[in-house]
């Protein structure tokens, strides 16, 4: 219910916001067209009607599942977005895996042995991960690994493979090679974030009584760390990762543009530049839905990790 209100409010803001900026006609029409042709094009796109009427028309169609047609491609906006979604999903997924697989062990180590040289180095490098702009890191990666060393392809999505009914570039070597740089570029900030969160959580937890008690009970160190400690520090990490995953899907605009990755983020930025209003509106509404869904998943993950949180209780 709440979500429905959010989506509705969002649609109003986005629709009117997008409609006050510029005029898509100038982006669409051939410059040699005369006044008559321009007017025909304006009418064909329904841009001659007052904006309130345009919104009602949009709303009526949206309730029937039709979020409008792209001005630029002439195809349903939703279809365009969904067409590009797998490319973005696989990139976001790969980045998330990197964040977890690299971030949690490094963070744990840094939290358990904060004074060691390796931990200090990790923490310093993670500051770079936060502070360097994504586009710069991306371009540097291309320069080093593609142009100078020639190890990796510079841009684009690789060959697609099919595995268990899913088609993705995760399943071919060429695909993985193409994905390595953009995924790492996208993951860099998230890895740093996870390292810092895990380290902070670990340092706090090791001082607590239940950890001391577990050691006192004579449990093996590995069991204390990977069962008792990890389970407790994962809750903030999962909350943040859940939301960050949403960001990875929705706004990987910079990475996708630099690596010419044919995903949703690139579609969004292209649509904004060319004022393809229906696509912008459909995109943002879809993103709101994704975030609402992710929040739900995060809540469920809590309840699995922390027995004190049960879905039923949260109603109260």
């Amino acid at each position: 219910m709440q979500s429905a209100v959010v989506v509705f409010v969002m649609s109003v803001i986005v629709f009117f916001g997008v409609n006050v900026v510029g005029d898509p006609i100038d982006m669409l029409i051939n410059p040699e067209a005369d006044q008559e042709d321009i007017e025909i094009a304006i009418r064909a796109l329904g841009l001659d009607k007052p904006i309130g009427e345009q919104y009602l028309f949009f709303l009526k169609n949206a309730l029937a599942g039709n979020l409008g047609r792209s001005f630029i491609f002439g195809e349903p906006a939703l279809q365009l977005i969904l067409q590009r979604m797998p490319a973005t999903m696989e990139l976001a997924f790969a980045a998330l895996i990197m964040a977890v697989v690299l971030g949690i062990p490094l963070g744990l180590y840094a939290g358990l042995k904060p004074e060691s040289l390796f931990a200090r180095t990790t923490m310093s490098v993670s500051i770079l991960g936060f502070s360097l702009p994504t586009f710069w890191v991306g371009l540097m990666m291309i320069m080093v690994f593609a142009v100078i060393l020639g190890w990796l392809p510079s841009t684009g999505r690789g060959e697609l493979g099919t595995f268990m009914g899913m088609t993705s570039s995760l399943f071919t070597l060429d695909g993985l090679l193409h994905m390595l740089m953009p995924a790492l570029n996208l993951a860099l900030l998230k890895i740093s974030l996870v390292i810092r969160l895990t380290r902070a959580g670990t340092r706090e937890a090791v001082l607590q009584d239940y950890i001391k008690f577990a050691y006192a009970k004579g449990l093996k160190q590995s069991r204390v760390i990977f069962v008792h400690l990890l389970k407790n520090i994962l809750i903030p990490v999962i909350t943040v990762l859940g939301l960050e995953f949403g960001n990875l899907i929705a706004f990987s605009v910079v990475t996708e543009t630099i690596f010419a990755w044919p995903g949703m983020g690139k579609l969004l930025i292209d649509s904004i530049q060319q004022l393809d209003r229906p696509v912008i509106v459909a995109y943002l509404i879809l993103i709101v839905l994704i975030f609402v869904a992710l929040n739900l998943i995060v809540d469920i993950a809590y309840s699995i990790l922390d027995p004190r949180v049960r879905l039923g209780d949260r109603k109260a």
């Binding site: 005029d23 321009i38 491609f73 002439g74 195809e75 690596f259 530049q273």
Partner: protein, 527 residues
């Protein structure tokens, strides 16, 4: 150890033998802007029109200098004042093997203006013309009034097969089902946002292109495009940024191909309003619009150091302009030369106009439309400030700019007073800019659609209209040249420079640079 080395050598050998021949026969080209469809009539914009040239032919093919050459029509001539006869090429086959006839041409005239959901079609070039089949290989194109540009207009759109076009929707072209042309390449694959793949049409009627397979990849981000070229992932890139040209020239693995384009970058000034919103007196109060004074317009033109713009801002990659189209195009004047830099003369003219202390002006321009557009505006502002016209610069994204420049003011009039714009002559001759930029704004007749300065001169209007009704080439050339001379000498617009486009290719290849800025696989050849 020895064995390991032998295995390694074998692997290398296999890799070399298996990859080298493929590399030699296929080419990958990175584009700066992405075509939005395979349907040749869906969207009348350069990236789409260029892409369509691979699968489809036109009746008349503009060559790399936009000179008209035979395409699917072998010859054309006016048979009376309102009828043009086109003789079609015999023995041409569609990609599915069916023969090409006059029916396809007549059908195309209907479809190219009526594609559902099309953002802008070919109505501009087709309206007022009817195609009539005379026999299987002769078509008459009739116009209501005598009209000389029939072959130019016809050269803008692709001819499609009636058989596939009748039921073919845009989606069927994108999926390849209806993408059956007569062109040098056949459709193989289209992944939106990622790639277009074509294979050579072995039974093409014309010159066979060099590449068995062509892949186009849109890489919008300029640094990434250059990096892809440097990494050797692509064989050619379009639109090399001017800032990288010096560096790429030194790169041993690459070569550059350059050519002047049909695009002139110019300044438009407010000729219309007595109180122009972005022209003020030195103290900020309203003044009578000085841009309406020819002496002031001349002073502005003389204050601009075109050599400096070309050398510094454009890194040498532009040609200074004195009229609407560069040398070699039809309808240009042989008398007009770029105005020379003369700040002292400009100051003198300002003083004569009673503006010894100058005035305040704002120049508006886009920042993502033309090569280095915002930097040019800044340079001009500095040059004008030097002669006393204190000029501020405001630049904005084209999505906002063009609306405001064309109709952002009251009653949908142009909002700005002094703007930086560019014009590419799609028809490849001078009537295109004259008709749209210089002719008096006249909605009912379709003149002056981009006349954002609202320049108006009845003598020029008459010459343009007469030229557009004169079929005789020599007479029309004179009229267009005369109209250009009057308009430019009257300061209708102030031309700055012609853009030069740069493509980068792998060493050993070269690109036949085109004035229409198209990037075509057919133009990429071994040296």
């Amino acid at each position: 150890m020895h064995r390991v080395r032998m295995v390694f050598a074998a692997v290398v050998a296999v890799l070399l033998t298996s990859t080298t021949p493929i590399l030699a026969k296929s080419a990958t080209i990175a584009l700066a802007s992405e075509p939005t469809s395979i349907d040749p009539h869906f969207h009348n914009l350069s990236p789409n029109n260029a892409l369509a040239r691979h699968i489809f032919d036109r009746l008349v093919h503009p060559d790399s200098n936009q000179k008209l050459t035979p395409g699917l029509a072998v010859s054309w001539k006016p048979v009376d004042s309102t009828t043009w006869e086109f003789k079609l090429r015999k023995g041409v086959k569609w990609h599915d093997g069916s023969p090409f006839t006059a029916d396809d041409v007549v059908f195309t005239f209907g479809r190219a203006v009526s594609v559902p959901n099309s953002p802008s079609g070919f109505g501009t070039y087709i309206k007022g013309k009817t195609a009539v089949k005379i026999d299987d290989h002769t078509v008459h194109i009739k116009t209501a009034k005598p009209y000389p540009l029939v072959p130019n207009d016809i050269s803008t759109f692709s001819i499609i097969s009636k058989k596939h076009g009748e039921s073919g929707k845009t989606a069927d072209y994108n999926s390849g089902k209806a993408a059956i042309g007569t062109g040098p390449y056949k459709y193989k694959q289209y992944v939106p946002g990622d790639r277009f793949v074509f294979v050579r049409n072995e039974s093409y009627w014309g010159d066979k292109p060099q590449w068995d397979e062509l892949t186009f990849k849109p890489i919008k981000s300029s640094p990434s495009r250059v990096a892809a070229m440097l990494a050797g992932d692509v064989d050619m890139i379009a639109q090399v940024p001017t800032i990288d040209i010096e560096r790429l020239k030194k790169e041993p693995k690459l070569s550059l191909s350059q050519g002047v384009s049909n695009r002139v970058i110019y300044l438009h000034l407010d000729h219309d309003r007595d109180n122009s919103p972005f022209v003020k007196a030195n103290d900020g109060s309203d003044i009578k619009n000085p841009l309406k004074d020819l002496r002031v317009r001349k002073a502005i033109s003389m204050a601009i150091n075109r050599d400096a713009i070309v050398e510094r801002v454009m890194e040498g990659v532009a040609i200074k302009a004195g009229q609407l189209l560069p040398a070699g195009f039809f309808g240009i004047s042989s008398k007009l030369k770029p105005v020379s830099y003369d700040p002292a003369g400009a100051k003198k003219l300002l003083a004569e106009a009673g503006l010894k202390d100058g005035f305040k002006l704002t120049i508006h321009g886009p920042n993502d439309r033309y090569i280095n557009d915002a930097k040019i505006a800044e340079a001009i502002a500095q040059m004008l400030t030097r002669i006393g016209i204190k000029t501020e610069v405001v630049t904005m994204p084209r999505s906002v700019y063009f609306k405001r420049a064309s109709r952002g003011g009251p009653n949908k009039t142009p909002e700005f007073s002094f703007i930086l714009v560019g014009w590419g002559a799609g028809s490849g001759e001078a009537s295109s800019p004259l008709k749209s930029l210089i002719h008096t704004y006249d909605k009912s007749h379709g003149f002056g659609a981009s006349n954002r300065g609202r320049y108006s001169n009845t003598a020029v209007d008459k010459l343009i209209e007469d030229a557009l009704a004169t079929v005789d080439d020599a007479k029309r050339q004179d009229m267009l040249a005369k109209a250009t001379e009057i308009a430019i000498n009257d300061g209708a617009i102030i031309p700055l420079h012609y853009q030069v486009n740069t493509w980068a290719t792998r060493k050993g290849l070269k690109y036949d640079a085109r004035t229409d800025e198209y990037t075509l696989g057919m133009g990429l050849v071994s040296e």
